[in-house]
Symmetry: C2
Subunit: 140 residues, 2 copies
């Protein structure tokens, strides 16, 4: 059960406009992108663009624009649903904070969130439609 | 000149404590880490831990804790110093904001910063001690 970064998700105010910006930078949206979320596959690490308020809600963060939510999250994909809780437990044992106990998001799978010592939110997620290799790279 | 993510840097209040947290999560610091910054090499993408105030200053951001600086940055390493300005120009042409014109940081190389449409700061950096392959992966 390896810890690493599989997704980096930026909270944005307008997914279409933000997508156009990153396309202009040279990135190509993954075919599984949809109007709610854009995925850019950077050779196995995914840069995602998602509505900022929805992202804060998913991470069980209040988005007060007071700096308590930084506007982005990182995710560690795990390869089975049984790995989600132990990874959250590991973070709490290391001094992190549990933000959200594991539950099924609307798009399926299982995910919880923790914050590191400085409040950076991490999703720990099992997504049955994503394969994770031993280096943490995603194919989906 | 490819755009992508080579570094993800989290601003932290105590680099040693934050490092201990991520070590407890299972990551191994890269030998080039030092007391000011920790690098974790995630198979060619680097997760870095750096003092939050210093990170905000490097990105030419005020850290008012009002949400204007989210507490983290991403970097796109380029393979020559001549690529820094054109990548910043590309971002500005796409509607981004120039945060910092190219200059040499104390640790060498050349770097500038832009913000995307939602204020997420990106460093565009040439670091002579980092090799970037065509997929954006770093070896250093």
């Amino acid at each position: 059960m390896n810890f690493g970064v599989s997704f980096m998700t930026l909270g944005v105010s307008d997914v279409a406009a933000a997508t156009a910006f990153y396309v202009a930078m040279g990135l190509n949206p993954h075919p599984r992108s949809n109007p709610d979320i854009t995925f850019f596959d950077l050779h196995g690490r995914i840069l995602a663009l998602f509505d900022r308020t929805s992202l804060a809600e998913d991470a069980a963060q209040e988005d007060h624009h007071d700096g308590s939510f930084g506007g982005s999250t990182m995710a560690c994909n795990v390869s089975s649903p049984e790995d989600v809780q132990p990874m959250l437990d590991r973070a709490v044992a290391a001094g992190g904070t549990l933000l959200r106990t594991p539950s099924e998001p609307p798009w399926g799978g299982l995910r919880g969130y923790f914050a590191d010592l400085d409040g950076h939110p991490w999703e720990v997620v099992w997504n049955p439609s994503c394969q994770v290799d031993s280096t943490g790279r995603i194919s989906f």
